[in-house]
């Protein structure tokens, strides 16, 4: 599979301008023979939307003026785009849509909305409430958005639901400058993504954005890890880039023949113990 990682900057709240950038990069990726192009979180809107949220929402249908040209373009190349989804009852979600062959294959609503420190997503957005893998022409995949994969349960659920490829998107504000050669936020994400690839013997693909919104910088550094946990490609930090990678999907066969972590995963045991932990009378069952 030929992959393109579209590590872009966005215009805050200017969906038309962002759409134009998407269509240009989609054209470049098609010209390069790519099968799938992955844009970052909220790639059509920008990240720190605050009160802009209700005015930049769209519905992923052929009738929508933003999605119509994207769906048309998806006849030539599969794509993941980030947007604000407004459901029929007018709840707003941070969302990723997977478009292929003129159709919407799947929409993921961000499940974990960071609302601490510099983040305030829970103030403006509704919490997604499902984590599902889905089938594509490259096999079964799963999508997660930023904070979703700072928690380990969403990637784990997708793995059990059959995803061999994790498509991760983010708009990660850079923070933690010290004497290291990268920001602590970058190091954290690289560590965890490499760990997911190794622990799940999966492909882990991450598309992060770049640019600034007021004082926030977004660090880029999009990556692809293979099922051995090996880094296949990495985009530059802090610069826009269209980065290409060729994924040999047969690596799943070779790695899992050597290392049958998926085969041996004791899912019934997990379910039994989770049932005990979360279902007991004195359980700290959480949300």
């Amino acid at each position: 599979m030929k992959l393109a990682l579209a590590q872009i900057n966005t215009k805050l709240g200017d969906v038309d301008a962002n759409l134009e950038k998407h269509l240009n990069l989609i054209g470049d990726a098609v010209a390069h023979g790519s099968d799938l192009i992955l844009f970052p979180e909220l790639s059509l809107t920008g990240y720190t939307l605050q009160d802009l949220t209700p005015s930049v929402s769209h519905r992923p249908t052929t009738k929508d003026p933003i999605f119509a040209p994207l769906l048309e373009a998806s006849k030539e190349i599969d794509m993941v785009v980030g947007f604000v989804d407004e459901d029929a009852r007018h709840r707003f979600y941070i969302a990723d849509a997977y478009l292929s062959e003129g159709k919407v294959l799947h929409v993921h609503h961000k499940v974990y909305l960071p609302t601490y420190g510099l983040f305030d997503e829970g103030r403006f957005f509704a919490w997604g409430d499902s984590i599902r893998a889905f089938d594509t022409r490259f096999g079964r995949v799963g999508m997660l958005i930023c904070e979703d994969f700072w928690h380990m349960s969403p990637p784990y659920l997708l793995w059990l639901d059959g995803a061999d490829i994790l498509l991760l998107t983010s708009a990660s504000p850079g923070r933690g400058l010290n004497d290291d050669d990268r920001l602590t936020s970058a190091r954290w994400v690289e560590h965890t993504n490499q760990a997911y690839a190794s622990l799940f013997t999966n492909f882990v693909i991450h598309s992060n954005r770049v640019g600034y919104e007021d004082g926030l910088n977004f660090w880029g550094g999009s990556t692809v890890y293979d099922p051995n946990g090996k880094l296949l490609v990495k985009a530059p930090y802090h610069e826009e880039a269209l980065t290409f990678a060729e994924l040999d999907l047969n690596q799943l066969h070779r790695t899992r023949a050597r290392l049958p972590l998926l085969r041996d995963e004791r899912t019934a045991l997990v379910q039994r113990e989770l049932g005990r932990i979360l279902g007991g009378g004195d359980a700290h069952s959480g949300r």
Partner: protein, 275 residues
């Protein structure tokens, strides 16, 4: 510096901060910048970062001496202008400031200092319009936390690239970017009166307070943990009080809320809205 927790990767800092300057200027239609160059290290660093970000020819360094300003300040600013090749202008503020200072023969040093800082702000914002460049801030994190500035004076700017760097980190980055040693090594001074130094006035050194701030602010240590880490309790209390008392300098003036939607509370947009 190597083992200090305050030590930063200066290449990465330069990349982020120059990118910030360029992005935040260009997205609002500017390609030029104006900086009040005092001869001290903070404005020298902002000036160097701006020159690296948008080109020296697009940076106007403005020297604004008062009649009692030290010659060193002017000379050191000149060193920066020559070394980095930025455009420059000298606007004495003596007449402007003295017309106000003359109103009260008993005027305190603090009042005079505030008048000078605000006269410089007026001259700088006038040059902002004349040169077509945004005013780049020169306040570092230590001084912002301590409130060691004149509100609407030296603290006024359009964007601030160095406001998340402690003084210790400003020194490290200044060396890396090539600010002349004379500027990096001298005792920091607001130069509002003869022989004034920041550290005399504050009663502690930047090196000391930066170590404290790193634990207090960045690492969220509590008072007892700071004392356990070896800091004098009175020193910690004094600094914490200063930080609290100067919060007003770090905020827009609060607006009294009466409507359903109020600027600052529930009318929330970034400044980069639509850009």
């Amino acid at each position: 510096m190597k083992n200090s927790k305050l030590s930063i990767n200066t290449d990465l800092a330069r990349k982020i901060l120059t990118g910030f300057i360029k992005s935040e200027l260009e997205r609002v239609g500017f390609s030029r910048a104006v900086i009040g160059l005092s001869g001290g290290i903070d404005s020298a660093l902002s000036c160097a970062l701006a020159a690296e970000a948008i080109g020296a020819e697009n940076v106007l360094a403005v020297r604004m001496p008062y009649k009692e300003s030290s010659q060193d300040s002017l000379d050191h600013a000149e060193l920066m202008i020559e070394k980095f090749g930025v455009k420059s202008l000298t606007i004495p503020i003596t007449k402007m400031a003295d017309s106000l200072i003359a109103l009260d023969p008993e005027m305190s040093k603090t009042r005079k200092g505030n008048i000078m800082a605000r006269c410089r702000m007026i001259a700088l914002y006038d040059q902002s319009e004349a040169f077509g460049g945004l005013v780049i801030g020169t306040s570092n994190k230590t001084e912002i936390l301590l409130g060691y500035s004149t509100i609407f004076g030296d603290s006024a700017s359009a964007i601030n690239p160095i406001g998340d760097l402690y003084k210790t980190q400003v020194r490290q980055l200044s060396r890396a970017i090539g600010v002349p040693n004379e500027i990096v090594d001298k005792a920091p001074s607001a130069d509002l009166w003869a022989n004034q130094t920041d550290e005399d006035e504050l009663g502690f050194t930047y090196a000391e307070v930066d170590k404290l701030f790193y634990l207090l602010i960045d690492q969220r240590y509590r008072l007892n943990e700071l004392v356990e880490a070896g800091f004098d309790e009175d020193f910690v209390r004094r600094v914490m009080k200063r930080v609290r008392q100067n919060q007003f300098k770090r905020m827009m003036p609060p607006i009294a809320k009466v409507s359903n939607r109020t600027i600052g509370y529930d009318f929330l947009y970034l400044r980069d809205w639509g850009t």
